[in-house]
């Protein structure tokens, strides 16, 4: 049977992580469909129909779907599931929120955050903050899976021309409603998709000092990340957090500044190609996984690095 990918989108366009999920889906079956659930979401559906290797797009367009409330989305996924052996979504806060709700309704034990596909039943997933990788084999009839985007390459977002089929919403469950959102505005690349990430930790010391990190990031065309300590201290917004319980990144270059390298932080960036650590404590665990460690005071060397680039 075919594989259904639940797209992450903003109603008009597809979020890049969807393309990584499609790659994981194609390792299971060649027949991959994409589901767009939203409000006035033709733009996103058309973008999905252009994705390379997609054979069909399902579009569920209704007013009660504008804020992707799990209570309204899960029943749609459950109904669509009848025609699929596997249903996959990104392991983003969107996928993590809605997929287990659908899985429970289908009496299926979801497989979270996969990083490899062995066959249609068998997958690898990190456990214990990435200190171990479990290979698990599912005996459920339907597999509901969330996918770690950074573990799979993206398919091309063009070249396809698949048909778009409308499916019906299941209505408003009336359990929850949207009040407001405060999204961080930024011209920088998105953290999980950036080629370069510059992250700051508690060592940066204050929200004002974080400008040093941001200047360096802008010089490199990089995204800005942070440790939990930096977020908790209010230097940067919550969505900058990299780690076990934040975002997982795997850029070509990760620069950790004033970050000690706790297990939970490493879990979110150890897959980066090249890691640079700047820390004044030569015993800091971050140096254990850094390709290039520089033992120095960040207030001396970060401006120097920025000016010499």
């Amino acid at each position: 049977m075919s594989v259904l990918v639940i797209a992450e989108h903003d109603h008009n366009s597809i979020k890049p992580v969807t393309l990584n999920v499609v790659t994981a889906a194609r390792k299971i079956d060649a027949d991959v469909h994409v589901l767009i659930v939203g409000t006035d979401c033709s733009g996103a559906a058309e973008a999905a129909s252009r994705i390379h290797g997609i054979t069909k797009v399902l579009k569920c367009d209704a007013p009660e779907l504008s804020h992707r409330l799990a209570e309204n989305l899960a029943p749609i996924i459950v109904e669509a599931a009848a025609n699929y052996s596997h249903i996959m979504a990104p392991a983003s806060t969107f996928g993590k929120n809605v997929m287990p709700r659908a899985a429970a309704l289908l009496d299926t034990q979801q497989i979270s955050d996969i990083i490899a596909v062995h066959d249609a039943d068998t997958f690898d997933r990190p456990v214990y903050a990435g200190n171990a990788v479990a290979t698990v084999k599912s005996s459920d009839e339907k597999k509901l899976i969330t996918v770690r985007g950074t573990a799979f390459d993206a398919v091309a977002n063009d070249g396809g021309n698949s048909p778009i089929e409308d499916i019906a919403s299941k209505g408003d469950a009336g359990l929850s409603s949207f009040v407001k959102q405060e999204l961080s505005e930024s011209d920088r690349p998105e953290l999980t998709a950036a080629k370069i990430v510059v992250s700051g930790g508690r060592g940066v010391g204050s929200a004002e000092n974080f400008a040093l990190i941001e200047k360096l990031a802008d010089k490199l065309g990089a995204a800005v990340g942070a440790s939990r300590a930096a977020v908790d201290a209010g230097y940067v917004p919550n969505d900058y957090q990299v780690g076990q319980t934040g975002k997982v990144v795997a850029p070509d270059l990760y620069i950790a500044v004033g970050i000690s390298g706790a297990i939970q932080h490493l879990a979110g960036m150890r897959g980066s190609k090249t890691i640079v650590a700047i820390n004044k404590d030569e015993e800091a665990p971050i140096f254990g996984i850094a390709d290039y460690g520089l033992v120095a005071d960040l207030f001396d060397v970060v401006p120097e690095l920025e000016s010499k680039l």
């Binding site: 993590k96 214990y128 990788v133 290979t135 407001k180 939970q264 640079v276 290039y292």
Partner: protein, 254 residues
């Protein structure tokens, strides 16, 4: 109002977990165990609501081996009034009973206890599943407010601020609802000795999965548990000039 708080015993977050050489699981002998940190945040939040007069009773529930009773006692030392231990010796190699089975167990307990809402962790730091709260909400047909960094209870409504990928989102939930905690919801209190002593006297009931009619046969077979791809680190540079040179000419990333 009565609140149910599921709490899980897990390897302490400070422990560097090691994979067993036969790849059957991770080393658990003589390893420090604690309450899953997100569950500590959940019990703290429930306790604060009780102190604010919004909650009258906090019931902590754990599913696990006999030792998991220690976790219930910790929850009681923070603020739980009563505890329920669902006893099982299911293997805990990658985190114990699977989220779907945990959710079914909790549903059976909800049917006995009739809580007004549930606060629980967003994620166990052993299996890193991030599923149980959402699954339980589905099984009960309740609203869900996941990854909460702020919670306000107002009669039959809960207002939840959620940590999402782009920033923050606020939802209003119809009660009864399930809230799952994120790191910034609160800072759990330090447990004092007199509270630990008092906790020993609180009521703790034990049940079995059979009594609750839940089957713990795993749906996911653990084929193996391996070390992650190794990373050779430890390289050092003397100064910024050397760093720039290496990044340009060796790593070729800038």
């Amino acid at each position: 109002m009565k609140v149910l708080v599921p709490v899980k015993r897990a390897i302490d977050y400070n422990v560097k977990v090691r994979v067993k050489s036969d790849e059957s699981g991770v080393e658990q002998t003589n390893v420090k165990m604690s309450m899953n940190p997100f569950d500590e945040i959940a019990i703290e939040e429930a306790t604060k609501l009780k102190e604010a007069g919004q909650v009258t009773e906090i019931v902590a529930v754990t599913i696990g081996p006999d030792k998991a009773q220690e976790t219930i006692r910790t929850a009681m030392a923070i603020g739980a009034d009563r505890g329920i231990h669902v006893q099982t010796d299911a293997p805990t190699d990658i985190g114990g009973v699977e989220p779907l089975a945990v959710a079914k167990t909790l549903k059976a307990i909800v049917e006995k206890e009739n809580p007004d809402f549930i606060i629980m962790g967003k994620q166990s730091i052993d299996d890193d599943s991030n599923q149980t709260g959402q699954m339980l909400a589905a099984l009960l047909g309740w609203a869900q407010g996941t990854f909460a960094s702020e919670l306000k209870i107002d009669g039959d409504k809960a207002t939840v601020t959620r940590e999402i990928d782009g920033g923050l989102e606020t939802l209003e939930l119809k009660m009864p609802a399930i809230i799952t905690t994120d790191l910034r919801l609160n800072e759990p209190r330090y447990v004092k000795l007199p509270d630990i002593m008092k906790a020993k006297k609180k009521q703790l009931d034990t049940m079995t999965p059979d009594e609750l009619g839940v089957d713990y046969t795993p749906r996911l077979e653990v084929v193996k548990v391996a070390e992650p791809a190794e990373r050779v680190g430890g390289g050092k540079v003397a100064d910024i000039d050397e760093l720039i040179d290496k990044l340009k000419n060796e790593a070729k990333v800038i």
